[in-house]
């Protein structure tokens, strides 16, 4: 599939998830239980991107020793929990990563 076709399909599915509910559904079709479960979607999906990017190397092998990403991610997570701030989390993670690879 060409890159453009891929981009268009990804755009379509993104639009359709937003549009389908506005166009087709009434609020009553979602009970509290389904809403409660959907509220867990970020917690259920984002770690599937986060963990492999930290613990695996480019070829998909485990990289647990000499891996500055693990320490940097832990620092970012702690700063995130304390500050509840998105920018502070990203910057502290990148800063500690650069510190670990360039300074130490």
């Amino acid at each position: 599939m060409s890159n453009w076709l891929l981009i268009i399909y990804c755009g379509l599915i993104t639009f359709l998830t937003r549009f389908s509910m506005i166009a087709l559904l009434k609020k009553e079709m979602f009970n509290d239980r389904i809403r409660e479960i959907l509220s867990f979607v970020p917690s259920a999906i984002f770690p599937a991107i986060i963990f492999p990017a930290i613990f695996l190397d480019n070829s998909g092998d485990f990289q647990l020793e000499n891996n500055p990403k693990i320490m940097a991610a832990i620092i970012a997570m702690l700063i995130g929990i304390i500050s509840q701030n998105i920018i502070a989390t990203i910057i502290s993670g990148l800063a500690s990563y650069w510190f670990l690879i360039f300074v130490i």
Partner: protein, 231 residues
Amino acid sequence: MNNKFRVFLKGIFDVSPLMIPVVPFGLIFGVLSIDIGFSPIETMGMSLIVFGGASQIVLLQLFSGGASSLVIISSVGAVNSRHLLYGAVVSEHLSDLKLVWKIVISYFLVDQAFARSNEYFKKNKDKDKYFHLFGGGITCWVIWQTTTFLGIVLGAFIPEKLGLSFAVPLTFLALLVNDFRKLINVIVIIISGLVATFGFNYVPYKAYVIVAGVTALLTAAILTKLNKKNE
């Protein structure tokens, strides 16, 4: 002042503080997309056509990992399933709109605009209130396109050894900061992460994002049910 315009400005005003974290997100997206090998036009096209930060970064991540188109598209769908919730929540406020407005509003229904307009809709009942979501959505749109463009320009000057691809897990980590304080969320996060990491090489077609997401969501369903029984 025209009431529609007033509500539109209110939408811009309300969503603006939420734009601060979008700036690094957009820059990182632009830089990484060029780094992975998409052309500047394709990168700009992604921000214009998809217009969704998490969707676009998942697209990049899986594309660079060699996933098939079908898996990329369905993973983007999985990431977007949270929008089903937004749509269902705001639909009652938008049910009287013409189809063309429903289409326009759907394109602009991003996380930040949803969060602010949903609060506004609960308090205001006037018929022009959808202009609030329109104003907020356009604000997000302008910031997202601008920062994507700046990322594309900056990408040419950023050396690869800075390891900026590490910004991807960091931005997603940052989006979860509110969830680390809730026990059920923490368990769901760990399950999803472990399934994805151990399934990375074994789940066929690089569909590990979907497998991990479904497993973790089922866990959430079970845990919330158990939690209620104990109350």
